[in-house]
Symmetry: C2
Subunit: 133 residues, 2 copies
Amino acid sequence: MKASDIKNAGLKVTLPRLQVLEFFAKHPGNHFSADELFTKLRESNSEIGLATIYRVLNQFEAAGLIIKHQFDNEQSVYEVETGEHHDHMVDVDTGEVNEFYSKKLEQLQVELAHEHGCELIDHNMVLYVRKIK
Amino acid sequence: MKASDIKNAGLKVTLPRLQVLEFFAKHPGNHFSADELFTKLRESNSEIGLATIYRVLNQFEAAGLIIKHQFDNEQSVYEVETGEHHDHMVDVDTGEVNEFYSKKLEQLQVELAHEHGCELIDHNMVLYVRKIK
DNA sequence: GTGGGTGCAAATAATTTGCACGGTA
DNA sequence: TACCGTGCAAATTATTTGCACCCAC
């Protein structure tokens, strides 16, 4: 996630795009909705519009810079694409999102697809959990 | 899924509710959106309204008669709750939805939650696959 | 300078809700 | 009969789009 990524995606390097990029860079490993980005950026004296945020997020997603997720709620959230695949664990009490990776799980999914005569193209896996006190 | 289920849920046995119930009974193992139900029922000479469908679906879901899913697209789909937990495999070419169950997978998920100091409350797992010719 | 980019407001699309009427228990 | 349930239309919410102005190249 650097300014040159914007240019490589065939997009002009503009202030709103840099602000969104910088926000993700400053908050690694977190997941943000368009509305959260809008609120936070406006608080940082940005003049960005909500529609621009949606447009930029879609463009960044198309360029493979970020990934879009739909967890339980209605709003989509976005995270930086690090190239390292992982799944998500959502705390049902706090809404906190954690990432995890399990090689065993990945292999099992490929096997399950094969058992049904299919190859695995993609998967979506979210565990809803509660902290044990 | 029988008429007595409606009564047991504390709901009156009305025509629209019976029509939705019957539709699910007639199409086992399939997944329908509110809009699909609306169109299909209207074609069957029902006078049901779309708002009623949403209300009935929410009530049936609260009563545990059906389950709501959000796959890739924007619209939610509903299926009958058979009591047998399963996950879903979506064919990326045809959009066909298939159900499967893996004990290994279920156990692995519980373990993964424990590894993060959590108990598993629920999970959402969808495999996007392509048939091997 | 030019064409893409932007903010704002209006448009969409899925779902929910208000309201007066209708049907179940 | 008392209320819950219903259809329709209007309201909501997340997201997209139209438009006139603006800025990166």
